[in-house]
């Protein structure tokens, strides 16, 4: 009896392996097809960690620091000036925003916004997923763990989810001439 239970248990635990995360190097999104944000980005450890790498590589850190903000607003709190939905964050990254956020999608929303090249679309989605993970909006099973270097905040996978609140954008900053 015990032996049979053990066999069933082993078989069941083997089944867990069936839900293996897919890591796509030649991902479909950049070459068309609908974006499956939940599967391919928000709950995908590879996409989230790539997002984290790109967050440093493209110097998001320069303004938003490790999520606590600096020149730019913090990303780890509950406040969102331009919306927390993936499409809204994607739009912010791609076309930039007034007040200094550059456009990373090749074309700006309005004249005066700095355009910094074109980040490939799937990498922008990886950034969206990572930015959302900063306020706990990504799967905690998939979000990146502790950094190798010095810690400035608890790791993303320990972040308690915040409830997004839409906050009014700050008034336009007038730079001294």
């Amino acid at each position: 009896m015990v032996r049979r239970a053990l066999a069933v248990f082993t078989a069941c635990s083997l089944l867990v392996a069936c839900e293996r995360e897919e890591r796509q190097f030649r991902s479909a999104p950049p070459f068309g097809g609908p974006v499956r944000f939940e599967e391919d980005y928000q709950n995908n450890a590879h996409a989230l960690s790539e997002g984290k790498r790109l967050y440093s590589a493209f110097n998001c850190k320069g303004c938003h620091a490790d999520g606590g903000g600096g020149i730019g607003p913090p990303l780890m709190d509950e406040k969102w000036f331009y919306g927390s939905e993936p499409e809204q964050v994607f739009d912010t990254i791609s076309k930039g925003r007034e007040n200094g956020m550059p456009a990373f999608g090749g074309e700006a929303r309005a004249p005066g916004i700095n355009v910094v090249g074109t980040v490939p679309e799937h990498q922008r989605w990886q950034l969206v997923a990572y930015v959302r993970s900063l306020s706990g909006l990504a799967s905690r099973n998939a979000a990146p763990g502790r950094n190798d270097h010095m810690q400035t905040k608890p790791p993303e996978n320990e972040k308690e989810p915040e409830t997004p609140v839409v906050a009014p954008p700050p008034p336009d900053v007038v730079l001294p001439k």
């Binding site: 190097f25 030649r26 950049p30 590589a57 990373f104 090249g117 074109t118 190798d148």
Partner: protein, 344 residues
Amino acid sequence: MNSRAATLAAAMALLAAAGCAGPERHSVVDPAGVQADRIHGLWWLYLAVCVAVYVLVMAAVAVALVRRRGGSDQPLTAPPLAAEVRRGIAVAGCVGLTVVTLFVLLIADFVTGRRIDSLAREGTLTVRVTGHQWWWEVRYEESDPQQQHNAFTTANEIHIPTGRAVRFELESTDVIHSFWVPNLHGKTDMIPGHRTKTDIRADRDGEFWGQCAEFCGHQHANMRLRVIAQPEAEFQKWLAEQRQPARESAPKSSQDRGKGVFMKSSCVLCHTITGTQAGGRVGPDLTHLASRPRIAAGTLENTRGNLAEWVTDPHGIKPGVRMPANPLAPEDLHVLLDYLESLK
């Protein structure tokens, strides 16, 4: 039977001959530098000693098998005292011989280590090599603060003057890599957050291949670099060329349009081209891309076709590589290639 033995012997001889193909670009048994030469000597000593020990041990085992004792039906009796003493002396002799052999290897190892470390540094040439997943950033430093504008960066290709010791300062930005050019020296690890050093001198001209020797992820096996040892005059000429900013392209030419594509698309975010607005430090420096005979960390020859494939679908060549696929329009791709090929 005889012909089969002859075939076998011929096959063995052929196999052995494969090991002695002329000068090699990636081999520990073809040293081109003084340190590799010392390591090579140590390697031969270890091989000879180990082969001798192996043969002796196997001979002893064979003798023991042949000179077996009588069958199990004979009664057990204690051997005579004289035989016991002889056996004791034999065992003590073997232990003594083992200790002496190990000491010989220990001392040879120690002496080689000290000689490798004592390479005199005549010149002041310092090259900083930074390991990235999965390529090598190579920076030629200038120690003189007045000459800082002469420092420059290249990738996956190191030129050194023959006969002059060069100091390599090794770093890593992500995981542990290991810098290894077998023809010139042993391995030195590159550790994130900790600078390691190694001195190398090439004693003959040639092209030598290096390889990352510490597993570092998907494309570890394709993380290669080339070291080109050349006469001082040629080396100085190369330095002078590399210190120049990127070549200007004529206005309205296809190269100029390609430059526009480069600055508008994703290239500009990661790559540097000196003299332009492109200043990304994430990927290899492309200022003199066309002067390098290979691309993708030594994986491909630098031809127009390979470059096109690398730009549009790098993961088809090196799955997992950091370079993203760039679905460019055909017209944009062609002018971009024109521009990249002009970066001599």
